[in-house]
């Protein structure tokens, strides 16, 4: 068996269960499925909103020892994430200022290539500049 380096994990926080799950599915497929992409969408009862408990579970699931990058869809999701991160001192977590879908795909692909947390976060944030046309 070849030695496998731990990869950065990705957490996608959205106000919508469907949006978080769909973005996680897309990012996982484009990157070949080797990176843990954990979705934390919606409130605890599945409505539109965010859940600190879901984000915490997602961060713990995504943590493989190389750190976790969190992306959020809208500003108030960022509030939930920020409030939580101080409560997780045992996990190295970074919050990306990035567009949700493009950032998720760029971060996951970069993590799959073996990059560290700083490079994965940079790839997500560079997604602001990626043109489609």
């Amino acid at each position: 068996m070849p030695e496998v380096e731990p990869q950065v994990g990705i957490v996608l926080v959205s106000h919508s269960v469907l949006l978080a799950d769909g973005a996680a599915d897309l990012a996982a497929q484009v990157s070949g499925g080797t990176v843990t992409v954990a979705a934390a969408g919606g409130t605890d009862d599945g409505g539109l909103g965010t859940s600190a408990a879901k984000v915490e579970r997602a961060v713990r699931r995504a943590d493989g020892g190389a750190g976790v990058l969190v992306l959020a869809d809208l500003g108030s999701a960022v509030l939930t994430v920020r409030a939580l991160l101080g409560d997780l001192p045992d996990v190295t977590v970074a919050l990306a200022d990035a567009p949700f879908v493009e950032g998720a795909v760029a971060a996951t692909v970069t993590a799959a290539g073996g990059a560290d947390l700083t490079a994965v976060a940079k790839a997500a944030e560079e997604a602001w500049h990626a043109r489609k046309l």
Binding site: T34, E102, V105
Partner: protein, 89 residues
Amino acid sequence: MPASSESITLSGDLHARPAGAVAVAAGRFASAVSVSAGTRTVDAKSVLGIMGLGATSGQQVTVSADGPDAAEAVAALITILGDATRVGG
């Protein structure tokens, strides 16, 4: 540092999954690697950059690398581009 470059004619459009496969592979090499199509050149380690090329079936793309593992990087990416654009996605 050694530099290497090779071209391939795509047998299918360069969609999201083949673009992802190229970027994941490029990320595993120490060399700087780029992909060119038409007049545009992007960092091969950037999946969004590769998708933004809009490279289509029949188009020639060129992989270039500069660094300690340049030849290996170019060979790996040319293989992926040949295989992945055949199945699409």
